[in-house]
């Protein structure tokens, strides 16, 4: 492509790295180290134009501390506040944990690929999520509920290390009321827990998928996703109907800083959500 050919598109990325201010309107505490921040763009134009899909992420920037890639956890069909469920584990996110309602934070995005919510209409949907991995899947769950009759059987298996680490516990009944089978499991139960115990992939045995008509979506620790994948493949779910969401160190979000490369992919641009068909060549490569 010649330089002049991109000239007229330049304004799009002119300020690719510049801040885009949003105000924290609401903070919901999810667990001891995880909260959901509900944001609204300051600029009315930006607010109006901002559209995102289930599974995409934003780069949240807090001056002095830096920038961090955070999945969007709200309903893409709903106008209004944009939700980000954040686990406070790094330099940036720990600083974010000290913010209050009314504080500003910069939001660049949305970036990356999405769950195939549209393309999966007419199919059965199986979702496996672990820990914070439920956050990028929640927008997809909302969209399925918004058009529940368009989908077949919908099953969610969600797990966390312990009961107090479970996200969105207040919403489970609502989800179930929309004919969604939700299994919740914990690695380590305590006295309060009378539900399932064990790692997420263990419960694949309870499902009887019709492989050709099933899509499998998974997000969580890589080791968990890999076992979910093996279970899915063992049940003959096709490579291109299994979707996994990956995470890497990201700096730009537009596939140009080089950090998140995974084989020939940029996780930020070609991912974070890939089909197993895309990932297969790299699947057993350690430290790629």
């Amino acid at each position: 492509m010649t330089m002049s050919a991109v000239e007229d598109k330049m304004h799009v990325e002119e300020n690719a790295m510049n801040p885009n201010w949003a105000v924290i309107k609401k903070i919901e505490t999810e667990t001891v180290d995880t909260s959901t921040l509900w944001l609204e763009f300051e600029d009315e134009e930006v607010r109006k134009d901002y559209k995102y899909s289930a599974g995409q992420f934003n780069m949240l920037y807090l001056p002095i501390y830096g920038e961090s890639a955070i999945s969007i956890s709200s309903d893409p069909d709903q106008e209004g506040l944009i939700g980000h469920t954040i686990r406070f584990v790094g330099n940036v996110t720990r600083a974010v944990s000290r913010l209050n309602v009314g504080d500003r934070i910069s939001v660049r995005g949305p970036f990356g690929t999405n769950w195939p919510v549209e393309e999966s209409k007419g199919k059965d949907v199986i979702i496996f999520a672990g820990g914070i991995g439920l956050a990028p899947l929640r927008p997809a769950i909302y969209q399925i509920i918004n058009n529940r009759k368009d989908y077949g059987k919908v099953t969610i298996v969600y797990g966390a290390r312990c009961p107090s680490d479970l996200l969105y516990t207040g919403e489970y009944e609502e989800w179930r009321s929309h004919d969604i089978e939700l299994m919740v499991t914990v690695d380590h139960a305590d006295d309060t827990w009378d539900g399932l115990v064990g790692v997420v992939p263990m419960y694949f045995y309870r499902l009887r998928p019709n492989p050709e008509n099933t899509v499998l979506w998974s997000c969580g620790p890589e080791i968990m996703m890999h076992f979910v994948l093996y279970e899915g493949l063992a049940r003959k779910i096709p490579d291109n109907q299994i979707y996994l969401s990956y995470e890497r160190n990201m700096k730009c979000g537009v596939g140009v800083c080089g950090h998140c490369q995974h084989g020939a992919y940029y996780i930020c641009k070609d991912g974070p959500i890939f089909t197993y068909e895309q990932l297969e060549p790299y699947f057993n490569v350690e430290d790629l």
Binding site: P19, N249, H259, E286, D287, L288
Partner: protein, 375 residues
């Protein structure tokens, strides 16, 4: 010579001192003229004001992990091949400011970036370096992303190329589809003969520059010498990479092969190769703050896939913890995944990563070892 019709692809001859006039023409037009200078036992790219700043009468001896610059009593300005300096230090500087912020009444306000982007004229750009700039163009000026600072500098850039008549032993441009003869991508292209420069015109800007010089039509004798010297140079660069077109498939199909460990055994993981590579572009973003935390500026800085923090996770650990995984990333990116990402290899065969590797890793040999192992 006003009656002579200058056009693109015309070759004229100028005397060697006339190059000074060209420098004057460029600086007169507001260009900062950058070229090779002999300094600290190497050639470095720096601002030059006069042809006496150029490495007149120098040659180099280069091999893996070794660069030696000698005065040879010769009469050429461009005999010595470049050192670790690359033009990318001007096109994508090691540190650039993206924006500044100042906290006023608990609210961050943007401070406009008032960085000056000089108009550069690069003097003595080698054909492999033109190839590298073209690669950077594809990476940094894309349909979905434009590095605006790069584009601004690039749009105004004047390239005075020089044909490579004395390739170093570490040169391998011809193995990756290049040539010691620059074919395009320049405003003017010099070929340095004993007593004159042949100047080939590559652009309208080039025509305008030459029009202001004392020039003569290139005679057939000079053109013939140029031809012979180019053929000799091409001959000198050994075709060292076997089947480089097969590399993407071969490398990507053997990511878990144990030969990677063998190749990485010599590697220091120091990152010198990525720093001197004219196409390596990876960058990090950092906040630089004042003491009170009331001002910050967001800087874009060179990064390297050998930096331990390159693939660091927020909560600790990293995706590529070993030297083998980092070296494999560098090699597969240059010779395989780059093709998929940007439509061609990321290597131009300049040999810098060979020469400036303190551990003497020769990428040509390593690729051949890998190819043998993967067959």
């Amino acid at each position: 010579m006003t009656d002579y019709q200058l056009s693109i692809n015309t070759t004229v001859a100028i005397s060697k001192p006339e190059l000074n006039k060209l420098l004057d023409v460029l600086s007169g037009a507001g260009y900062k003229t950058i070229g090779p200078v002999a300094k600290n036992n190497s050639l470095v790219y720096e601002q030059i004001e006069d042809i006496s700043d150029l490495p007149y009468g120098y040659e180099t001896d280069q091999k893996a992990g070794r660069y030696r610059l000698y005065q040879n009593g010769g009469s050429e300005y461009f005999q010595a091949t470049p050192g670790a300096s690359t033009w990318k230090k001007y096109l994508t500087p090691p540190r650039t400011k993206l924006f500044g912020l100042v906290n006023v009444d608990n609210k961050w306000k943007e401070v406009p970036v008032s960085e000056i982007h000089p108009k550069y004229a690069f003097i003595g750009v080698r054909p492999c370096e033109i190839a590298a700039i073209k690669i950077q163009d594809t990476v940094l000026i894309r349909e979905d992303y434009v590095d605006t600072l790069y584009k601004k500098i690039r749009d105004e850039l004047i390239i005075i190329a020089v044909n490579c008549l004395h390739p170093a032993d570490t040169c391998f441009c011809t193995s990756v589809g290049g040539s010691p003869e620059a074919e395009d991508g320049y405003d003017l292209r010099l070929t340095e003969l004993d007593d004159l420069f042949l100047v080939n015109i590559g652009s309208q800007k080039g025509i305008d520059m030459v029009a202001q010089l004392e020039y003569a039509a290139a005679n057939s004798h000079s053109l013939q010498i140029e031809n012979e010297m180019m053929s000799e140079a091409k001959e000198k660069i050994k075709d060292v990479l076997k089947d480089y077109k097969q590399l993407p498939e071969l490398l990507m199909n053997n990511l878990t092969h144990s030969a990677w460990e063998d190749v990485a055994a010599k590697c220091l993981s120091c990152g010198s190769c990525t720093s001197v590579c004219p196409t390596c572009f990876c960058w990090d973003v950092q906040d630089v703050t004042n003491l009170h935390g009331t001002e910050t500026q967001r800087d874009k800085v060179w990064d390297s896939c050998f930096n331990p923090t390159f693939t660091a996770h927020a909560g600790g650990g990293c995706s590529r913890p070993t030297t083998t995984s980092r070296l494999r990333q560098r090699i597969t990116h240059k010779f395989a995944s780059w093709v998929e990402q940007h439509g061609g290899e990321g290597c131009v065969g300049c040999g810098r990563c060979i020469v400036w590797c303190p551990a003497k890793i020769d990428i040509r040999e390593e690729l051949n070892i890998l190819q043998e192992a993967f067959k």
